[in-house]
Assembly symmetry: C2
Homo-oligomer: 260 residues x 2
């Protein structure tokens, strides 16, 4: 299946655009998991069990796994294996380097960990991103306009060619997408006006939209701004962090229902 077919199929099954973020912080887990031999993995499995009929995708923010230390590798690996095969898996790695180095990252995040899609930082340009775009069954979401305040520092800069930097990035991602239709764009839900304009600028690109929930975006605004483009909307703390009690999985399910 191509990357776009995977998204379409996963969204048809779930009937939703919802991606659930597994940004699992080992320091902040429900106490009930304290005695588990791998509390992060146990947490992820419980969230997946409770929500897998509602989500078209799960996104792992890899920073939290790196901060888990020695168990990073097995925890990512086993979480990936546990996610039902029809659901999209997204590795939020935001990597990007010179070509030879990006080849190593592509091997790590597309082969060793067989994520259906990963996030990539486009700053270093074409030769740095090319290794991630070689497989038509693996998607790459490039940082277009991020959901955080610091987006103002560089992403919004006005260029001499009349564009803003995030528009220039978007145009470049459209080029990168042309050969294999496996590129997409990260656009923050906290910026619905810009989301609407980017959707007009790049109607064919799948968007990965973070920032709904704790960061301030709402699903309604996102849906209105995105129109009928292909989009995956991520909610992390608003679902997986809905309760710290022993009811954390049920609470996550209840929270997830509000986003479908």
């Amino acid at each position: 299946m191509t990357f776009l077919e995977k998204i379409t199929s996963a969204q048809a099954k779930s009937g939703s655009m919802l991606c659930i973020g597994l940004d699992t912080d080992w320091r902040k887990l429900p106490e009930i998991l304290d005695d588990d031999k791998n509390p992060v993995l146990a947490f992820n499995k419980a969230i997946i069990d409770a929500t897998s009929d509602l989500a078209c995708a799960y996104k792992l923010q890899i920073a939290y796994y790196e901060a888990y230390g020695e168990r990073c590798y097995e925890t990512i690996q086993e979480t990936l294996e546990y996610i039902p095969k029809h659901i999209l898996t997204i590795g939020d790695v935001k990597r990007g380097d010179i070509g030879a180095t990006s080849e190593q990252y592509a091997y790590a995040w597309q082969e060793l960990f067989p994520f259906d899609a990963i996030t990539i930082n486009p700053l270093m340009g074409t030769d740095g991103v090319e290794p991630f775009l070689r497989r038509e069954d693996r998607g790459v979401f490039f940082l277009g306009l991020t959901s955080n305040p610091g987006a103002r520092d560089f992403e919004y800069l006005d260029l001499m060619n009349g564009k803003k930097l995030y528009e220039e990035v978007t145009d470049k991602v459209r080029e990168w997408n042309t050969p294999k239709k496996n590129a997409g764009l990260v656009v923050g839900a906290t910026k619905p006006q810009e989301l609407r304009m980017l959707r007009q600028r790049a109607p064919e690109l799948p968007f990965l939209i973070p920032g709904v929930g704790t960061q301030g975006g709402t699903m309604e605004e996102v849906k209105a701004a995105n129109g009928d483009g292909i989009a995956i909307v991520n909610v992390s703390r608003g679902i997986a962090g809905a309760s710290k009690g022993s009811d954390f999985a049920e609470a996550a399910r209840a929270a997830a229902r509000n986003f479908v």
Copy 2:
């Protein structure tokens, strides 16, 4: 010791600006290491043994360790422990995300792996980089102007304010550096003219300069362009990849001597 003191002290001991890149590819090791239980670690130790009096720093390109799979964690950890304490250790991770996520990365790459310095991608702006700048004894090299062809796609873009994007980044890094003097800039050795101009623009910032050797830059050009600014010049394949034979460590030493 502050970050700047660490650099000064390491360079006084080695008498050089040379950083040796340990971009160790497990697929391309000298055959003589085939039977070792951790060939990547054995390779790194042999290179360190052969070159530690010549280098002011070792830089680990983390992509190669991620591609090593399950042994990633122990290999980074044990390589770091093996490097003599007076030599600077640089984790080339190029991370960067929203603030809460960057906190996790900072924990991973400054605490779990106690690198003296790391590389960070500045694209997401101030709140995304702040967590990396909290410790005055840990340095952060931000991508300013990279050594690869793709730098043309975004880094060289002309802004409405009359600067190029890499100049705007440089000015922002100078701000980020102000509180704790722990920020620096990555500037590719393949661009000596721009290096000269950036050195004038930011005389106080330490530069991490990759791209000497295989990528085409020369130590002489770099020294001339950098003048008397604080700089660490990285050579990876040109030293650690000098020979694939059983003489790989001696060959690395011989190659390193050409850069000091």
